[in-house]
């Protein structure tokens, strides 16, 4: 077939990119080769617009065993154990087919973890939808949650934490980011590398069908009416197959039978073949007529580009093939030796004896890199010019508090996480519902704390501060649980990077994240970029999602967020101030998505985390909870009642503090780096001393007790009543169409 300009365009390649391919090959590519380049050089696989920036991320650290570049990042947690983790987006597929899209998203990130030899111990997710008053948003939410739940539940991997919020900007383009965490002994770590000439390349797992051909290219364009038609068959999730694949893979690795292994995710067989060859500086030759197929008459183009799920490619150690096959047989999995490692550096594909692809493997993994134009969007100046004084201070604070607690972004996500098995594997020490989930590592005393976080509106108002805050907040969640944050993964969800305004925001967010990562000494071990999150409504809010891992050397020292005991003192660490810019309060109550984004002092944040860690280590505090959306009043409320989700009684509090300014800002403003702690009066001296040592600003703001929440003269309300609103609101709104 002749390669026409139209064909090149249909493959999402630009004319000069095509020229580059011709130069590399010294000839015109054939259609199959064109397909192979087009997927590997798509934005989704090739990071064409983001790579230059991502290279600047701080990825080094004492505990980093594996930074970006492999299937997942790896951190040392001591005692010979390591944690393997990564986050990935499945936004576009989920927007089209929420159930299967979300399920296959979970399947994909799980493979990234167990392909490194680690047993997945936890799944997390971050989701964004349009408002629940919209039928489509409700359908997306319901489908996505079921998809995540069915996959993780069937696999027997607990979904322990997550984050969901709602905003108009995600109406047609929901976000589905899934993160997985696994643990592994150092000596079992294996990589996606091919080496050893003549070693066999083996395909295992599900059969290959025509589903998801060009999925990577699809994820690299905006969603439109047309994208629906452009899709080939929807990828269907088969968690049972993945469970078998996981057990078999872990057994193969445990028995030391493999040189390298890589999952087939985006760009399927193409990607795994050339990436393994390229990482090992080798070539690979495969015969696609040997690939187990599900459909008749598939041509090499289709076989190479199919994104059928639940498949892996592995390179066998010499002499181990027979044992590999017998293990796969035990698990009833397909396996086929489809090729071998070569020294040529070429990716060669044969089909029925004929050579159909011959290209340098490295050229596929080294796509063009762009430095897109950037332009500060005009709206930023507008947001900055917002005057808080233009908002009248209301007086009905009880009602406002109730409204915020019932706001789906703030309200309990119990309705969602009860659909996830969050206890299987019996490691979950802190269940969903506190700032971070805490899991034990069974063979040790240690625990891992984990949290995902992101805040689109801060990044919209001020991308640099927003980027910093995203990192700091996820880390703060982990620190509140008593753990030391040791590394992070991130998923950058943005609009079309070819639009200078979008790219401007992207760059600023990444700068902010980088600076926070350096200042907080939390290296970035990997992540994912999802561009082209746009619809007729324009780009989504810039949404970096940060997943942080923390370590507790003694898991019994973990801290949860709810008040424990009547008579305990309540401290606020951090400042009392009255700024309402960018707050959920301003948005929900006044309908204004604007204002000056809160700022954060990273030096102080670092000290705060160390301070929290010391308080936890010395077992001085009963609870710690960070103030985030909804501000101080919402945070205090949550301390009063979130324990009931774990069978603990609810309990009131009486708050009196030194404050000045506007009461709505005091109660609902979202100043950063603030944490509420509670502790027994006996510990006051020691707590004061530690807080002072770290230079924290703090004050006693109240005492735990009673059945009411009393804040100054402003709030007086029964805890049982607000708890009821908080826990039932989301389910109610999903069922009733967004009416609170």
């Amino acid at each position: 077939m002749k390669i026409t300009p139209q064909l090149i365009q249909d493959h999402g390649l630009k004319p000069d990119e095509y020229e580059r391919i011709v130069q590399i090959l010294g000839r015109e590519p054939n259609l199959t080769e064109l397909g192979v380049y087009s997927v590997m050089w798509s934005e989704h696989c090739g990071y064409k617009h983001s790579r230059a920036l991502l290279k600047k991320l701080p990825t080094q650290g004492k505990k980093v065993l594996q930074g970006p570049g492999e299937n997942a990042g790896i951190l040392d947690v001591g005692n010979g154990w390591a944690v393997v983790f990564k986050i990935e987006s499945h936004n576009h597929p989920s927007a089209v087919e929420p159930y299967q899209g979300a399920a296959t998203g979970v399947g994909g990130i799980l493979r990234d973890i167990f392909t490194m030899g680690a047993r997945p111990i936890a799944i997390l997710n971050a989701l964004r939808f349009g408002p629940l008053s919209n039928l489509k948003s409700r359908q997306l939410l319901t489908g996505v949650i079921r998809g995540i739940a069915d996959y993780g539940n069937c696999m027997g991997i607990p979904t322990v934490a997550g984050e969901v919020s709602f905003d108009d900007s995600y109406l047609d383009n929901c976000l589905v980011n899934a993160m997985c965490v696994g643990v592994i002994r150092h000596d079992k770590i294996i990589k996606g590398v091919a080496s050893g000439v003549e070693n066999s390349v083996i395909y295992i797992g599900a059969t290959t069908g025509r589903d998801g051909i060009h999925g990577a290219t699809f994820a690299s364009t905006e969603i439109s009416e047309k994208s629906q038609e452009k899709r080939s068959a929807v990828q269907v999730a088969d968690p049972f197959m993945e469970k078998l694949l996981m057990e078999a893979t872990l057994e193969l690795i445990e028995k030391n039978l493999l040189i390298g292994i890589q999952d087939m995710g985006a760009a399927g067989l193409t990607c795994s073949t050339c990436e393994m060859a390229s990482r090992g500086n080798m070539g690979i030759e495969i015969d696609v007529s040997k690939v187990p197929l599900r459909e008749l008459k598939m041509n090499p183009y289709e076989i190479l580009l199919s994104e059928s799920q639940e498949r892996m490619l592995l390179v066998a150690k010499p002499g181990c093939e027979a044992e590999i096959h017998s293990i796969l047989k035990k698990w009833d999995l397909n396996a086929a030796t489809i090729g071998k490692v070569t020294e040529t550096g070429l990716m060669v594909v044969k089909h029925e004896g004929e050579k159909v692809v011959e290209v340098p493997a490295q050229s596929l993994t080294d796509p063009p890199m762009y430095h897109p134009q950037k332009l500060e969007p005009a709206f930023l100046a507008e947001y900055r010019s917002f005057r808080e004084s233009s908002i009248p201070v209301p007086t009905n604070f009880n009602q406002i508090l109730l409204r915020l607690l019932a706001d789906p972004t703030i309200a309990s996500k119990q309705f969602i996480y009860q659909q996830y098995d969050h206890m299987v594997q019996t490691n979950t020490i802190v269940l969903p519902g506190s700032d971070a989930a805490v899991l034990r590592i069974k063979e040790t005393n240690q625990g891992l704390a984990m949290s995902v976080d992101g805040n689109g509106i801060y990044c919209l108002l001020n991308p640099y501060e927003g980027g910093k805050i995203a990192v700091a907040e996820a880390a703060r969640n982990v620190a509140c649980s008593g753990a030391v944050p040791i590394g992070l993964t991130n998923c950058l969800n943005f609009g079309n990077p070819e639009k200078p305004e979008v790219f401007y925001m992207f760059e600023k967010v990444v700068e902010g994240m980088s600076d926070a990562s350096v200042a907080l000494e939390i290296p970035i071990t990997g992540g994912n970029v999802s561009f082209y999150n746009e619809s007729q409504l324009g780009p989504i809010d810039p949404t970096p999602i940060i997943g942080v891992i923390g370590v507790l050397d003694d898991v019994s020292k973990h801290v949860t967020q709810w008040f424990k005991k009547s008579g305990d003192l309540i401290y606020l660490i951090g400042e009392v101030n009255d700024l309402i810019g960018g707050s959920r309060y301003l948005q929900v109550v006044h309908g204004k998505k604007t204002g000056i984004c809160p700022t954060i002092d990273l030096k102080n944040a670092k000290l705060l985390y160390q301070c929290l860690n010391e308080l936890a280590n010395k077992r001085l505090i009963q609870s710690a909870h960070d103030c985030s959306e909804g501000g101080l009043a919402v945070a205090i409320s949550e301390c009063c009642f979130t324990g009931i989700a774990c069978g603990k009684p609810l309990i009131g509090a009486k708050i009196n503090m030194a404050w000045h300014g506007r009461m709505d800002g005091i109660l609902f403003g979202e100043s950063q780096s603030r944490v509420l702690i509670s502790f027994s009066p006996q510990e006051k001296k020691l707590v004061d001393q530690i807080l002072s040592t770290y230079g924290m600003t703090f004050q006693q703001i109240g005492v735990v007790g009673g059945s009411q929440l009393l804040i100054e003269q402003a709030v007086q309300i029964d805890v049982e009543y607000i708890a009821e609103q908080f826990f039932s609101s989301l389910e109610h709104q999903v069922n009733s169409g967004g009416k609170a």
């Binding site: 739940a149 069915d150 539940n153 069937c154 696999m155 027997g156 088969d238 968690p239 049972f240 197959m241 469970k243 078998l244 035990k330 698990w331 009833d332 996480y417 009860q418 659909q419 996830y420 098995d421 969050h422 206890m423 299987v424 594997q425 019996t426 979950t428 020490i429 269940l431 034990r440 069974k442 898991v555 019994s556 774990c646 069978g647």
Partner: protein, 227 residues
């Protein structure tokens, strides 16, 4: 007391049961792959939770044809103890070791949360360490735990005292609000007529350690050990 845990493709609470029995309760355990036929001479067989064969078609439907099932049948016929938890309960029903069936939860959603169950029969090898009418706190995690049986079957279960535990509130009252899945008569666990086969939806292996929020599950394992 020797335990054998059956591992089906898709079982995923097998290691949780193993950990609870071996590490917490210090009993010997064997893991038995479903394609085998040798149970390794246990005193009690455990069919763990999970999604055997992905729960495709119907929960437990395909697992009952595994080679190991015949060995379990023979073992049970000789009076050996068999406990099926969650998916294990579903398999026991599909295999007709226990009467009834577990339908989709009434609200069609998977539910993972703590529940309370009242132990109504203590004269069994699985509950002999419980006090009559005692309330245990145990989590559930299932999409299909809605026990159903026809009227005649129910009457038999009641007459023969085969309904071992029922969902209740923290005070032990059997109420609609405390029924998490629409189960007939709030049934959470039943045994066969011979009382040596027990199926239940809640997960005793998940509450054997304080760190995990409770130790009520130990009572089940201890009862088995003592019988």
């Amino acid at each position: 007391m020797r335990f054998s845990i059956i591992v089906f493709p898709g079982s995923n609470c097998d290691h949780d049961c193993e950990y609870a029995i071996r590490q917490v309760l210090k009993n010997p355990v064997e893991m038995i792959w479903h394609k085998n036929t040798d149970l390794k001479n246990p005193d009690c067989v455990v069919i763990p939770g999970g999604f055997s064969y992905g729960d495709y078609l119907r929960t437990g439907a395909i697992a009952r044809f595994s080679p190991i099932m015949e060995s379990i049948f023979n073992f049970a016929n000789k009076g050996g103890l068999v406990i099926g938890i969650c998916n294990g309960f579903q398999i026991l029903c599909e295999a007709q070791f226990l009467p009834g069936v577990l339908l989709k939860n009434k609200n069609l959603r998977f539910v993972c949360r703590n529940t309370y169950v009242r132990v109504d029969e203590v004269d069994t090898p699985f509950t002999n360490q419980c006090k009559n009418s005692s309330v245990l706190s145990m989590p559930i995690a299932h999409g299909e735990g809605n026990f159903f049986i026809d009227e005649e079957g129910l009457k038999k279960l009641e007459d023969q005292h085969q309904i071992i535990m029922r969902y209740c509130n923290s005070k032990g009252q059997i109420t609609d609000e405390s029924n998490p899945n629409g189960s007939l008569k709030n049934i959470a666990g039943i045994c066969n007529q011979a009382r040596n086969i027990f199926g239940l939806m809640p997960h005793p292996e998940r509450v054997c350690e304080k760190e995990l929020g409770g130790i009520d599950g130990q009572l089940i394992w201890q009862s088995i050990s003592n019988s």
